[in-house]
Amino acid sequence: MKMIDQFPIVQYINENGVFTQSEFEEEMTPALLQQLYEKMLRARLLDRKCIKLQRQGRLGTYAPFEGQEAAQVGSALALEEEDWIFPTYRDHAATLTFGHSMQNLLAYWVGRIEGSIPPEDKNIFPPAVPIASQILHATGVAWAEKKKGTNHVSLVYFGDGATSEGDFHEGLNFASVFNVPVVFFNQNNGYAISVPIEKQMKSKTIAQKGLAYDIPSIRIDGNDIAAVYIETKKAVERARSGEGPTLIEAVTWRYGAHTTADDPTRYRDQTESDSRRRTTDPLLRIETYLKNTNVWDEDWLSKIEDQISEEISGAVDNMEGMPKADIDDLFSHIFKDPTWQLEQQRKHHLAVKGGRD
């Protein structure tokens, strides 16, 4: 059997808004789907706002995720309070949903350390910038939970490109060998910057890479939040109950540029993004389903849109109102106790600056 047939894309709600795996329709109540829709919308509107802010020079380079909301929101919601998530630079929908502060999230993109710091009770790692390196951190953190005898798990995000790095391989092997409660959540958006997946790997699926480690893998429609939510829950439960890691390949699409510094028209036909908006969009799918089931409500939509817009402008205001970055942050958190070099450099720095600022 071909690999691609061994790992069919699991879907719960199809493009026409029809529930195709009816045994889960009960769990995925309209109320829950509305809630998921709202979370996705919140993420999407924030993403769009960030691009606008970047264009206005109010944010630095920004990595948008529009199109990937179902993958991120659905997986983040499958976790419990005390679990851990390990985002990349593109996983704001996930971190936001898991409880990161919107203000801090924005602050990340104006080069503020605060951007990497989650609320006290949220186990959110600083976004990983070097590709795939966080896969090992997630494995280590989950291993620690196992050693402590808790039942908390890690969920780590990474892209299709990340699967080429050695750390992906080492992370999956460690997790497999030590039977660690971690969920490897791959967002296969078909591109690593400009490099299409066909140049990244010859294999037709990412899920099949789990076979190397005897890690159960599944390939899901990453734009179908029902599939994402339920399949991630299953993986999380496997982990939580001591059955070890799972690899999830969520097939999705990033409509826009890799970052605001990138021009996707150089390497792909953007009409594909346009047509995907009309066909496979994760929000549209829920909208269609809710319409099909007569739960969709335009008033509700405009109400939540307003709420979200308000929340976003508040967060932007707060972010922009943050006191200037503190020079002490340069020196104070290198070691618990600064070395003499740091003390001396700090003193010299302030002395030379004098009253300058």
């Binding site: 630095g60 790095e165 910057i193 990138d262 390497y267 290198i334 070395t339």
Partner: protein, 332 residues
């Protein structure tokens, strides 16, 4: 047809493209490899247009794996090719560290020259362009400590092309660092033909009598700006030397200038401890100890990682600090 050399006004990044193009044209064994260097022309457009001209057998989009890029390039280079490898940012070179440190740099020695690795590793580096975190590392000194590896940093478009061509022609591995701040900051005249700037040679950017300033890359411009008012208002004249090659350092030029001025300021943006200033001071100690009139002054980054960009201007050597250092060295 006249033999006069055609001149173009180019940014540094254009000059680098030009240098690669010249070598790809001249030498069939030259390859360009890296993440997004093909269709996309590189995230900084340094390889723009090359895949169209030379095809995807020679300008190669690789999988996202730095050790893989470096390790296969070692194989390619041993077997007849001259890879120009792009590391997307210097901050992402570390997964390839083992391949560079243990293999590329030692292959000639381990085989008494039977196998060699003529590879150029290009990497944008340095802070000051508001890049996201981890994109602004300035870890050149780690690489100058790798025996068998040369390290080159241009500060302007002319040198960039000439040094790059010299690096490709060099029979041994060269780390070629490209200061992001200089990529598009200015255009200078760059000959259209092929030319080289010799590795291992520093350049006097300006001449003076009182203080020697040693620096490289993006700091060269900063130093020039910093010394201008000192010169105009205070009559302090400076040698400003662009080291250009960080390994091997140009001992002779350093010695010559230090013996003349007796006063030295070293400017770099890497952390002070372990930074290249140590090596430079060591060379001065060896060659010109008795000529020194004052302790050598350093204007460097702190013993901290390059911070996120809201703080990067605090981290980078500032005009004030450079001027302060010049004045300090003259206060003795």
């Amino acid at each position: 047809m006249s033999t006069s050399v055609q001149i173009k006004q180019l940014t540094m990044v254009q000059a680098i493209t030009d240098g690669m193009k010249a070598m790809l044209e001249e030498d069939e064994s030259v390859l360009v490899l890296g993440e997004d260097v093909g269709t996309n022309g590189g995230v900084f457009r340094a390889t723009e247009g090359l895949i169209e001209l030379f095809g995807e057998e020679r300008v190669i989009d690789t999988p996202l794996a730095e050790s893989g890029i470096m390790g296969t390039s070692i194989g390619l280079s041993v077997n007849g090719f001259k890879p120009i490898v792009e590391m997307q940012f210097l901050g992402f070179i570390y997964p390839a560290f083992n391949q560079i440190m243990t293999h590329a740099s030692r292959m000639r020695q381990r085989s008494k020259g039977r196998f060699t690795c003529p590879i150029v590793i290009r990497a944008p580096y340095g802070a000051g362009v508001k890049a996201p975190e981890i994109h602004s590392d300035s870890s050149e000194a780690m690489f100058t400590h790798i025996p068998g590896l040369k390290v080159v940093v241009p500060s302007n478009a002319y040198d960039a092309k000439g040094l790059l061509i010299a690096s490709v022609e060099d029979p041994d591995p060269v780390l070629f660092l490209e200061p992001m701040r200089c990529y598009r900051s200015t255009k200078v005249e760059v000959p259209e033909n092929k030319y080289t700037v010799e590795l291992g040679k520093a350049e006097y950017v300006k001449n003076g009598e009182d203080v020697t300033l040693l620096t490289w890359g993006a700091m060269v411009g900063d130093v020039m700006k910093a010394v201008a008012p000192l010169e105009e208002k205070l009559g302090i004249t400076c040698d400003v030397i662009d080291l250009r090659t960080l390994y091997p350092l140009d001992k002779d030029t350093i010695e010559e200038s230090v013996k003349k001025t007796g006063r030295v300021v070293i400017v770099h943006e890497a952390p002070e401890s372990g930074g290249l200033s140590g090596d430079i001071i060591s060379v001065i100690n060896d060659t010109s100890f008795f000529y020194l009139k004052a302790p050598i002054q350093k204007v460097t980054g702190f013993d901290t990682p390059v911070p996120v960009y809201s703080l990067e201007q605090e981290y980078l050597p500032s005009m004030e600090k450079i001027q302060y250092a010049v004045k300090t060295t003259l206060s003795y």
